[in-house]
């Protein structure tokens, strides 16, 4: 009969600034799990750690590069992609990953996102979607589902939210995926595959936010939101992107996950005009 062993270090600790642990994220928050997947994917990518760079903006999820023991850049609100674009163009040998939240990437930094995707800059964009502005106190944002309650929408959100995979594919991303923090293996594999891919790759990660989103919407804690993902998520890699809206009110409506799009298009290299055009 073997019991658990109490230890002082985790094998992945060398990838983190472990002296900064425990991190600021609430109990039941999924951002830590996504951060763990990113770190695991970095070690498995085969790219030396000194060539990885992680860039973020402002928000709960944007704290993550501060905990990673790779070169990291905590930039101004919504401007993670412009900083990352500069890095990727000046140092094409680096593997640049943008790890930011839904509000940072799609509200404040919305224009940067669409134009970096249009240019097909060689970036890996991981977007933590927790359906609200978590750090500032649970305000409604561009991904808050229709009808969901938030601090600034006490009677329910009146606005239609973004369908992020559809948006990303429409503006020119070459890789589009959606996973949750429960689907850690698939998420890790997706992150690992985009690290090998040239061009603008986008992964949306649905994450529980028990403090900002769960509490006003009758979802008890992070575990209950993870259970909700377990019950309602359906993996369909060939699903139709326009029908991928998330509506948590309709309990029969599945949340569609998968690696939806994987195209080969020449990525952005200023001064180089590709002679052969390949349309995906």
């Amino acid at each position: 009969m073997s019991k658990e062993t109490v230890v002082a270090r985790h094998p992945l600790d060398e990838l983190f600034r472990a002296d900064r642990f425990p991190h600021i994220l609430c109990p039941g928050c999924g951002i830590g799990a996504a951060m763990h997947c990113l770190a695991q994917a970095m070690t498995e990518s085969g790219i030396p750690l000194d060539r990885h760079v992680c860039v973020s903006g402002i928000g709960c999820s944007s704290r993550v590069p501060g905990y990673l023991n790779v070169d990291s850049y905590h930039t101004t609100h919504g401007r993670s992609i412009p900083f990352a674009t500069g890095l990727a163009l000046v140092r094409p040998d680096l593997e640049v990953t943008v790890f930011a939240g839904d509000g940072d990437l799609f509200a404040i930094g919305g224009n940067h996102f669409i134009h970096a995707a249009r240019r097909n800059v060689d970036l890996n964009v991981i977007c933590i979607n927790n359906f609200n502005y978590g750090m500032t106190g649970g305000q409604a944002g561009p991904t808050t589902p229709f009808g969901a309650k938030a601090t600034t929408a006490p009677f329910g959100n009146w606005e239609r939210p973004f369908n992020l995979p559809y948006l990303a594919s429409a503006v020119g991303a070459v890789f589009v995926a959606r996973w949750t923090t429960l689907h850690v293996r698939q998420l890790k594999e997706a992150v690992r595959s985009v690290m090998k891919k040239k061009g603008f790759a986008f992964i949306e990660v649905l994450s529980p936010c028990p403090t900002g989103f769960g509490r006003p919407n009758g979802i008890g804690d992070g575990l209950e939101e993870m259970e909700l993902y377990r019950e309602r998520c359906v993996v369909d890699h060939k699903a139709s992107l326009p029908d991928m809206d998330i509506d948590l009110r309709d309990k029969k409506r599945p949340i569609v996950l998968g690696n939806f799009l994987n195209l080969d298009r020449p990525h952005y290299q200023p001064g180089k005009i590709p002679q052969e055009t390949s349309h995906g």
Binding site: M1, S2, K3, E4, T5, V6, V7, A8, R9, H10, P11, L12, D13, F16, F21, P22, H23, L25, C26, P27, G28, C29, G30, I31, G32, A33, M35, H36, C37, Q40, T181, L182, V184, R185, K188, D221, G222, L223, M226, E227, R230
Partner: protein, 97 residues
């Protein structure tokens, strides 16, 4: 019984793989960092073999960290799901030979 390969559980009509005698299910040992745990219970809830349970003791912040449940000492198959899903890097498994 629980850790036998699927073809060897006496299920009627189940096909027996030819290399069944060589198949070996890995066995894992659970390692915990109690002071990092924030008690989200992800590892306990989503362990496919239900190896883990909340501890009776609390850590310094008052959370019940995961421990190996009563009678589950040999049940871990080292799928490493608890490791990957832990937001705090407070648990991992190592293979036992």
């Amino acid at each position: 019984m629980e850790n036998k390969p699927a073809g060897d559980r006496g299920v009627p009509g189940a096909r027996r793989p030819l290399n069944l005698s060589q198949a070996r299910i890995p066995r894992g040992a659970v390692h915990v960092l109690p002071q990092r745990c924030k008690g989200c219970n992800f590892c306990i809830e989503f362990c496919p073999k239900e190896v883990l349970a909340p501890s009776k003791d609390m850590n310094a912040k008052g959370y019940h960290y995961p421990v190996v449940a009563e009678g589950k000492g040999e049940a871990c198959i080292r799928c490493q799901f608890c490791d990957l899903v832990c937001p705090e890097l407070a648990i991992y498994t190592e293979e036992v030979f």
